[in-house]
């Protein structure tokens, strides 16, 4: 019963990312896209990375991060849109946090 979480908002501006993290399950995956890419530098990301040492996969859409000149972290997978499409079907459902 894994969920794919599409995070589209900056945690520096809204609390959508915090809400996402509060319901995140161990088998889930997170994709940072659009302004969600800014969250790579947010304090909430540290706690997520520590948790994710278990099983949660954290991804960022390369072009979305690059467009915003955001350096990314080693713990984060760089993916493209076709990976997002694939993740849509390897997880049981999708929640968009926007």
């Amino acid at each position: 019963m894994s969920t794919l979480h599409l995070v589209r908002k900056s945690a520096f501006t809204t609390n959508d990312f915090a809400q996402c993290l509060s319901v995140l399950d161990q088998q889930d995956s997170v994709v940072l896209m659009d302004d969600g890419c800014y969250n790579l530098k947010h304090p909430l990301m540290d706690s997520l990375i520590k948790r994710s040492e278990s099983t949660i996969s954290i991804n960022v859409i390369s072009n979305h991060a690059k467009a915003r000149a955001i350096e990314t972290l080693a713990a984060i997978q760089h993916i493209e849109m076709n990976d997002v499409v694939e993740l849509t079907f390897t997880h049981n459902k999708v929640i968009t946090w926007q």
Partner: protein, 132 residues
Amino acid sequence: MVSSDTQVENNLSQESGLAIINSKAPFSSDFGKDALDVALIFGSFEQKVSLFFQGDGVYQLIGHQDGTLVSIKDYLKTFSAFEFYDIEDIYVCQQSLVNRQLDESFHIDNVNVLASLEFGLAINRHQHVLRF
């Protein structure tokens, strides 16, 4: 061969219906009303739909509100029609209530107050999720 026990478990874990997460306060945007319209149409088509209230969305459930004071048609009153539409699963995030210093007193009955973990698990029991 699947034992009947496992079958029962599979049935229990079967994800079905639509979960709608409400994340916006009631009187500053149409999001709550738009979510309600989706919920009622699912109900009228006899499709399973559950409502989740998180973040500022929890303000949609609080008692003693009165949108007419700010010239807004109070769509919250329509929440009392949920039973008629067989919308019975209504969940609110306890942490969101606590953060906002809100009591667990709501303008409709049968609201389930859940801790974050259970709130997430309840969402997971649905096949699809929309968030407004």
